[in-house]
Every structure is written in C-alpha cells, then in structure tokens.
Symmetry: C2
DNA sequence: GACAGTCTGGCAGCGACTGTCAAACGTGAT
DNA sequence: ATCACGTTTGACAGTCGCTGCCAGACTGTC
C-alpha cells in the first residue's frame, strides 16, 4: 500500500515491479508457445510452470485461470470497448458506435499473425471458446447502459432491445472472425463484419 | 447390441431399461432439487450421488458431465431446431424459418414454471452459461448448411453471412429470455423475441 | 443351472484450482 | 552494513470434476 514514485509514464521504479513484469511476460510467452505447439488442452499448468521456471502456485497468482494465459489481457478488450463507445458523438447511432468499438478492439492486436493465431486457437478449442463467450457476456452486460441511452425509448423493454443489438454486433464479429480464420487471414475482418451486418440488417 | 422387442412406442421391455430409466430420473430430480436449493456451484457430484443413492461412477455413466444434470436433454433442442427448420417451406425466408425453429424449441418445456427455473439457473450461473453457450455454438454450426441454402448467394462469403444471421437469431432469443426471467416470467417470450428482432432489423 | 453380456461400485489417478504457512527476498530506516 | 518490516514465493495438502480399470453383482438366454 505504498505510493511509489512512478515518474509519470516511465518504467516501473521498484525492482519488484520489474521482476513481476518479467516473470509475467515469461509465463505468457511460454504458455502461448506451448499452446500453439501442442494444443491448449494438451498443455498442463505444471508444464508451463516448469518451463517458465516458476511454481504452479505463483503462476496462479499471476493469472487466475488457465484461459487467462492466452495473453493480451482480454480484460483490456472490455475496457477499450467501453471507452471507445462512450467517446462516440452523442448523435451517432447505436450501430455506428458499436462498429467503432469493434474496430478499436481489433486494432489492439500486435500483429496480424498474432491475431490470427489467437483467433485460431479460440475457434478450435472448445474449452477456450466457452470461457471466452462467458467473458464476452460480461462485456455485453457492461455495455448495456451505454447503448440503452443511445436508443429511442419507444415501447418499453429497452433492456431487451439493447441486449439484442449488442449481441447482434458480437454475433457479426464472431461470424467475421471465424470466416477470417477459415480464410487464413486473407482480407480484412472489418470488411467481413460489414458484410455480415448488411446480411442481417439487409 | 441386441435388438430387443420394443412394442412400437410402448414402455421399454427389459428390466434393465426400466431400472435405468428409474435411476436416471432419480438422479435428475435430486440434482435439480439441490441446484435450486443451494446453487449449482455449491452442489457437488458427491452430494448428488449420495442423495440419489448411486455411486459417483454410475452417475457419470448416466450423465457425462455435471451440466448434463440440468435435464431436459438439451441435445434434443438441437434436433428439434434442425427438424423444424428443414420442414419449413422452401419459399420461407431465413428469418421465418429461424423464428419457427425458436418457437418449436420454446414449446418443448414441460411447463412455464420449469422453463423459468431452468432459464433462471442458466442466466445466473456463470459456469453453466459457458457450457450452454458452447453447446449452442454446435447447434449453430449444424444449422449452417440449412440456412445457407435459403440465402440468396450474391457476393460470396455465404458462410459468414449465414453464421451472422443464425447467431443474430440466437442473440435475440437470449435477450428475450433474459428479459423474461428478469420479469419473473411475465409475458410471452416469443413476443419479446419479435420485439428484439424489430429493434435489430428495424 | 451354466454361460455370456451388462451394469455397478470402489479405488486410484489426472488436471485445474485454492488455502495455508514458513522461508526467501526487496525495501527503507538506522 | 544491518535490522525490522512487508511482500512474494514455493511447497504441501486438499477440493472438485472427471476418467480408467477391475472385480463382483446382476439380468437374460440356452
């Protein structure tokens, strides 16, 4: 609970923080490597911990669950989504706002290859998909008030409608990314997203 | 691998089958009772097995996983969905076909109360939701060819578009059922579904 | 009644995950 | 340099979902 000097945005000051960051990175890279090498389900926590040079207990202290080892800090996705959408001009419709959010999240990946690898892992591993979907549900719930205020309150049941709209956006993102992976990363995801939207809202 | 006489649709002939059915029912009822009494995550397999009077091993032989104990045989949902949709007239649009499928699945519940209880459990338990979503993904995949043939092949990427359309239907069902649960079962789910659809495709 | 085919329970084991506790370590003050 | 303090770590044991294996009990057939 100490308030360490942080020199604005500079590197973390204390040795602890640096060590922490290093260990975290090491674990993450080891995990991603093993996942892509031998699959998610076939990789055990024990193996990751061993190869990363930490104990299982420590690994679980850094990342609360195995699926968090996919990296990228998916929690950041939710944050970026919310931030981007709330920054949209007030007169922007729900669909424009959601599109902007989706685009911002997609832009978060380091590289095309990394994004492709992650999506591939995600779409091909049942246990991962489940966890991811669950996390996404939380995002949707958080987005609810933001979207609700942008919808014209007409007949009541705004909750239901806003939920449906948000879930539809995610559905299109899903369809787009799945197709993108199936095409080995050819083309632009946002283009596919727009196509899906057109098909739905035709 | 024997072909036992089954007297058409009559009761199962052999004692084994009857015993099996009885045990299965006993387990199912015990599980559902405990789940609603003390929550899904707080109920252990050991407890269900003990109170149902079977061994854990046997329980897992009847139901392959804990989430299968929610009953109703959710696998049947997928079957009914596909059957209903493929039975729709060829000139029916994708949205009509999907709507018919959703309605058919909703009509599968024994009673309003049971449906409400199941939905409530589903929407309030993270671990359950994840499993359910994953199962639904499989339904969506199975539905893909059925829907694809009903769409006008225009610009390519039919896969993506069909996926998006299917996922949107499910999204609306989700929003509808969630709102329905929030309203303690007041109103009709299909009415909410239509409202959601209108909001999305407005 | 003997035989074959099923079903069951018990046990050991795996993997993800958590609580606990003593030991190792960075940190700031002396 | 040293000391006390709080943090971090690793090891251990334990829980829970789930599976493989095996011996024994049961059902149905001849």
């Amino acid at each position: 609970m100490k308030q360490e000097a942080k020199s604005a945005t500079g590197a973390p000051t204390t040795l602890w923080d640096r060590t922490r960051q290093l260990a975290s990175q090491e674990i993450l890279e080891t995990a991603l490597r093993l996942f892509t090498e031998q699959g998610y389900d076939e990789t055990t926590i024990a193996q990751i911990a061993r190869e990363a040079g930490v104990s299982q207990r420590t690994l679980f202290r850094y990342f609360g669950a195995k699926e968090d080892l996919l990296g990228g800090g998916q929690d950041r996705f939710g944050q970026v989504l919310m931030d981007t959408i709330s920054e949209q001009p007030a007169d922007a419709g729900v669909w424009e706002a959601l599109r902007a959010g989706v685009a911002a999240v997609l832009a978060l990946h380091d590289s095309r290859e990394q994004a492709l690898e992650r999506f591939r892992l995600l779409h091909n591993t049942a246990s991962l998909r489940a966890g991811w979907l669950e996390k996404r549900l939380r995002f949707q719930e958080n987005l609810l008030p933001l979207i609700e205020t942008r919808m014209d309150a007409a007949t009541g049941n705004e909750g239901a409608k806003a939920r449906a709209v948000i879930a539809t956006a995610f559905a299109c993102l899903d369809a787009a990314s799945m197709t993108w992976v199936a095409n080995d990363g050819k083309g632009e995801i946002m283009g596919l997203y727009d196509e899906c939207m057109a098909a739905v809202r035709g």
